[in-house]
């Protein structure tokens, strides 16, 4: 049986493979970008408020900082308590065009030893966890190999 692929949050990312992108919104009046998406009102206090339009974010950025999670996070993070805890890295990535820093998990197999501040990474589709019927999808950051 194939599990249904369901985004862990609706409307935060789209596409497959090389076409995978984070989705934010952009104010039509002041061009401010929001991620996670802001669909109500522009949060720039100097903006009269424009329509918020969905916009894909840059797929590549540079590492602002990184860390990892050596201990099992509490619920609502979903883990199998019967399996040993496998630490994963978290990467905060600065996107130059949007001038925004977006946090995400590193792609499987990437550890803090592989990372440096300033290194180029790209957004890739990932799976957060799976249950009997569903693969809950998310975004991951992965080094491009382009160096710092």
């Amino acid at each position: 049986m194939t599990r249904a692929r369901t985004p862990v949050v609706d409307g935060w990312f789209t596409g497959d493979g090389d076409g995978f992108r984070l989705l934010g919104t952009r104010c039509a009046a002041c061009a401010s970008v929001f991620f996670p998406r802001e669909d109500g009102h522009c949060r720039n206090p100097g903006c009269p408020g424009g329509d918020l339009e969905e916009v894909p974010l840059s797929p590549r950025g540079r590492i602002w900082s990184y860390t990892d999670s050596r201990y099992r996070p509490p619920s609502p993070y979903v883990t199998n308590p019967e399996l040993p805890w496998e630490p994963y890295a978290l990467i905060a990535v600065e996107l130059a065009a949007e001038r925004i820093v977006v946090l995400g998990q590193a792609a499987p197999g990437v550890t803090v030893a592989d990372l440096t501040v300033g290194m180029e990474v790209e957004v890739v589709p990932g799976v957060l966890h799976e249950d009997a019927e569903t693969a809950w999808t998310t975004w991951h950051w992965r080094p491009t190999g382009g160096g710092a």
Binding site: V8, V9, C27, C30, A31, S32, V33, F34, F35, P36, R43, N44, P45, G46, C47, W64, S65, Y66, T67, D68, S69, R70, Y71, P73, P74, S75, P76, Y77, V78, Y88, A89, L90, A92, A97, E98, R99, I100, V101, V102, L103, G104, Q105, V112, T116, V117, G118, L128, T138
Partner: protein, 396 residues
């Protein structure tokens, strides 16, 4: 300049993991503060409680919970919540009531009973709650954010894990002298380096624990203090509770991303620096006037960040200031003479009040073995989730 209020009394319930209700800790702290002030509970005109989100409904109405436990006597009541800044907001609320003439004497109380392990978000499926989302989508606990900040300092300023460990060594030595601290044992740099990594590059002994504890203050108008209090009371001269300015470009708990700076140039000054600046302006003093500082050392690395944000040194010079011994007892500007969160662990709504308790004892020359000689001006600083920061300046 804003008017001053007097600190008539300070009291705490020792920090620890006692396994009892937050109400018990808060009431014990309140009774200690009232006794210290020489004020009868019946003579308190207003109670301000700093809420806890871990005590069920009584925690959301902490002011009334403490008032009932002390015995209803008709006082005006207020309950406030601002994450880690709750205690300072409670102090600020009390101050505003006093300066507005709504009350002569106000009791401020905060207490918490913390869970074992990581803090976690409110229960249920809450996909519109950023605090729920960061756990659900990323498993991003509080220490992972501390780890991000620490790694960023290492990359930008050249701080090392050995620098971070020295913050713990300093604070543990001070906590060993404080009977209200939870951890009262000195710690070596080797012990920090030998503790488990929790969130790279931070280790267990770099990160503050979560604790049970309670703290309280009795505040009054200067006029009341002149009639009933000590001749020269500790005075609160400033309380800063400012919010960030858009775009906020430092990734802040519990957010998954910063604001975008594409449309608006960010302020040159970070949010944390703006918190301190507002307090300095209100008090009419600068960092050069300080005798001591109590800062929110959620992690060792974050203490170094506060040195810079408070203007104790230039940007990137925090580790150097520490290495010079300037922030140790006997140094130019001792920081966290109480032992800090490193020695207390975090009892969220009590913590900012406990910081003011430490200033009070220091400014009265009652801090015993951890006394800063001739202390005249003290500052506290803390920051909580969702854009809350606070700073209190007290003088004598």
């Amino acid at each position: 300049m804003t008017g001053e209020v007097a600190v008539l009394g300070a009291g705490m319930h020792p920090w620890g993991k006692w396994g009892r209700s937050f109400v018990e800790y808060g009431v014990a702290a309140a009774r200690a503060a009232l006794a210290d002030a020489g004020i009868a509970w019946r003579d308190v005109g207003s109670v301000v409680g700093a809420d806890t989100v871990r005590g069920g409904y009584p925690g959301y109405v902490a002011g009334a919970t403490f008032a009932k436990a002390l015995g209803w006597q008709g006082a005006r009541v207020t309950s406030v919540y601002a994450a880690c800044a709750s205690g300072a907001q409670a102090v600020n609320t009390a101050r505003a009531q006093i300066l507005a003439g709504l009350a002569d004497v106000v009791l401020v109380v905060g207490a918490d009973a913390a869970p074992k392990g990581f803090f976690r978000p409110a229960g249920g499926d809450r996909p519109d709650d950023p605090d729920w989302l960061r756990f659900r989508v990323l498993g991003a606990t509080n220490p992972t954010y501390f780890g991000l900040y620490a790694r960023r300092r290492m990359a930008v300023h050249g701080d090392t894990p050995e620098d971070f460990a020295q913050v713990k060594v300093k604070n543990a030595a001070l906590g060993a002298l404080n009977p209200n601290a939870r951890y009262r044992k000195r710690v070596t740099a080797e012990e920090v380096a030998g503790s488990a990594v929790v969130a790279d590059p931070l280790r267990l002994l770099d990160i503050c624990a979560t604790s049970d504890g309670g703290a309280a203050l009795v505040l009054s108008s200067m006029e009341f203090a002149r009639r009933h209090g000590p001749a020269e009371p500790v005075r609160i001269r400033a309380v800063s509770t400012v919010t960030p300015r858009y775009p906020s470009t430092v990734l802040d708990l519990p957010d998954i991303a910063t604001d975008s700076a594409v449309a608006v140039e960010p302020a040159a000054e970070t949010f944390r620096a703006s918190i301190a600046r507002a307090a300095y302006e209100e008090a009419g003093i600068g960092p050069e006037d300080l005798s001591l500082a109590e800062v929110y050392d959620l992690s060792t690395a974050l203490e170094l960040q506060w040195y810079e944000d408070l203007g104790l040194c230039g940007e990137g010079e925090g580790a150097k200031l520490l290495r010079e011994g300037a922030t140790a007892l006997g140094g130019r500007i001792p920081v966290n003479t109480s032992g800090g969160l490193a020695s207390f662990g975090e009892a969220v709504p009590a913590q900012a009040i406990a910081q003011v308790c430490e200033l009070t004892w220091q400014l009265r020359d009652q801090a015993g073995d951890r006394q800063v000689a001739g202390a005249r001006v003290g500052i506290t600083a803390n920051q909580g989730l969702f854009g809350h920061g606070s700073t209190v300046i007290a003088v004598r």
